[in-house]
């Protein structure tokens, strides 16, 4: 019997996690220092990062390219509205609503995941549209007119802003940790195997459907959390906006520009997108088209995105790294 040593965390990886925890702490304390405007902007940034990380989890790590993640973004917000209408405290309803959207994802997964590639992508878009139409039938939503989460007006505006900010930060921290943990677990390895070759993955004992389902439901929950936090900061719920396909364009842009299949890429992509949004966000449909063109350009000419390309050029990897067998030849020793 021989034993081999492995390394799951590089030094730079540990340093990065430590630094991230520090940044998180500073961000958590920020409402005591920063202006309301800054807090609102950062809440939006958290939502973008969350969406990007979730889309990358799906497409980058499990090969599930969905153009319908707005389904869960919208359903989460809708369920939160419904729960508040039934008497639940708003901030609890935002969380429970997202959990509800995660549950909705389970039956959806059982048939959507039978489809492959482009068929899956289109099916997800159709599902998002169907859900939007179904939700519009609810009198509470008032069709295209939409509705508002008026219960939030009962909170002092500053408190409300800070609570939403903390909820966003907490959700982001939770989902970043969950994603990192998942990707480093055997489920993460299985997802990547499925992404690379589904038949080969099955041939080494991986239950393809079950692994895809875990990833799909987690990503749905994350997108739904983003949707409920968005609802809390925007107050209004418009089916056309909350179930809008623009969310998918945003996610695609952030992940493709930042770097598919890396942990860091989507975060960088989200920050770039956030800055662009600050400058060009009011330009409407041309802006959206421009985002799409840039995303396609990246997919064609820089498929590894900014972070992926940087990592290849420099060899610097902070968080994406996998399992290393240490000094494969020399560490072998008898036990």
């Amino acid at each position: 019997m021989t034993t081999y040593a492995v390394e799951r965390w590089t030094r730079s990886g540990r340093v990065t996690v430590g630094a991230a925890a520090g940044v998180l702490l500073v961000l958590a304390l920020l409402p005591t220092l920063a202006t309301g405007l800054v807090i609102d902007k950062l809440t939006t940034l958290f939502i973008y990062i969350l969406l990007a990380v979730m889309w990358n989890l799906l497409a980058g790590y499990a090969g599930l390219v969905s153009v319908g993640q707005q389904a869960f973004f919208g359903v989460g917000g809708y369920l939160a509205l419904r729960l508040v209408d039934a008497g639940m405290t708003p901030y609890l309803a935002l969380i429970v609503g997202a959990v509800g959207a995660g549950l909705v994802a389970i039956p959806i997964s059982t048939f959507a995941l039978r489809l492959k590639g482009g068929e899956f992508a289109i099916a997800m878009w159709v599902i998002a549209e169907v859900l939007r139409i179904v939700v519009m039938f609810d009198p509470l939503v008032q069709g295209e007119t939409g509705t508002s989460l008026l219960a939030l007006n009962a909170f002092d505006p500053d408190l409300r802003r800070n609570l939403t900010y903390w909820l966003g930060l907490g959700a982001l921290a939770l989902m970043l940790s969950a994603t990192m943990w998942l990707l480093r677990s055997r489920i993460g390895a299985a997802a990547q195997a499925i992404r690379d070759d589904e038949e080969a993955a099955a041939s080494i004992g991986i239950d393809v459907m079950r692994v895809k389902q875990i990833i799909f439901v987690l990503a749905a929950f994350g997108c739904a959390l983003a949707g409920t936090i968005w609802l809390a900061s925007a107050i209004t719920f418009l089916p056309r906006t909350n179930f809008g396909v623009q969310w998918t364009v945003f996610m695609l842009f952030m992940v493709l520009v930042g770097g598919l299949k890396t942990f860091e890429g989507p975060i960088i992509g989200a920050i770039i997108f956030f800055l662009l949004q600050e400058v060009f966000g009011d330009l409407g449909v041309w802006y959206l088209t421009g985002l799409g063109v840039i995303a396609v350009g990246f997919a064609l000419y820089l498929p590894d995105g900014l972070w992926g390309t940087w990592r290849q050029r420099t060899g610097i990897d902070l968080l994406s790294g996998g399992v290393m067998l240490k000094n494969p030849v020399t560490v072998k020793r008898a036990t």
Partner: protein, 247 residues
């Protein structure tokens, strides 16, 4: 008609296997039984249906008719993943590595899922599989960086890391130099000595003959001869179908 001793209970058995792709009948009533610890070679011309038979045995393909039994249980309707976990491993004729992962991660994932191991047991199992297949030096390289020969080795390493009871090898020796082929034959011989049941599709007859107990020849979707290697190769039908008169 067979002078072979009857098997008490075959380890792996396909009985009456038909497989059609649309109107094209690729396998026609194929019977194959492999005893525990036995090494069976399969030869046959291109397109005979050898790889398709492996697909049916490993659960990647559902047969149009017939049954697959393994260690006494009917697995005909069971998927590839469950069959692997119960002990059937296969290598693919055209290697199918997980290109986004390292060589070690490829094997580790196989150990975690196929062998159901976790923690350091999985890591040791994966590293041992790489060591046996002479891939340990490449452990931390991306699988995408491997050439064809190393990708074939990785197929074998990954299959071994699932801790199989039966291994289905599909043209694992093709394209190797004589020296490399020698190492491969030694390795497969060791696996057999360890008690692994082996089914090996190979066009390189002299390599097969060093390891196998029994030879099966397929042609046009059917088994046309089986038994001792010399008897099979001397069979006139085999010479006609497989060797095309070239020998």
């Amino acid at each position: 008609m067979s002078e072979e001793p009857a098997m008490v209970q075959p380890m792996l058995e396909g009985r009456g296997i038909d497989k059609s792709f649309g109107a094209f009948k690729v396998l026609k009533a194929v019977d194959l039984a492999v005893a525990s610890g036995e090494a069976v070679g399969i030869v046959g011309p291109n397109g005979a249906g050898k790889t398709t038979l492996f697909g049916v045995l490993a659960g990647a393909l559902l047969p149009t008719a017939g049954t697959v039994r393994f260690a006494g249980a009917d697995l005909t309707g069971t998927g590839a993943a469950a069959r692997c976990r119960s002990g059937i491993a296969r290598t693919h004729q055209v290697p199918r590595p997980f290109l986004g992962m390292s060589v070690f991660e490829n094997a580790l994932t196989a150990a975690q899922f196929g062998a159901g191991l976790s923690g350091s047991a999985a890591e040791d199992c994966a590293a041992e599989a790489l060591e046996r297949t002479a891939l340990l030096n490449h452990a931390n390289r991306p699988a995408a960086a491997l050439g064809l020969l190393d990708r074939k080795r990785l197929e074998l390493a990954r299959a071994l890391a699932t801790r199989p009871r039966v291994i289905l090898l599909d043209e694992i020796g093709g394209g190797l130099t004589e020296a490399e082929l020698g190492l491969l034959i030694t390795l497969i011989g060791q696996l057999k000595a360890d008690g692994l049941t082996i089914v090996w599709i190979e066009h390189i007859l002299h390599a097969l003959l060093k390891v196998i107990d029994r030879l099966v020849c397929m042609s046009a979707g059917a088994v046309i001869a089986e038994g001792g290697p010399d008897a099979v190769m001397a069979d006139p039908e085999v010479r006609r179908a497989y060797l095309g008169g070239s020998l």
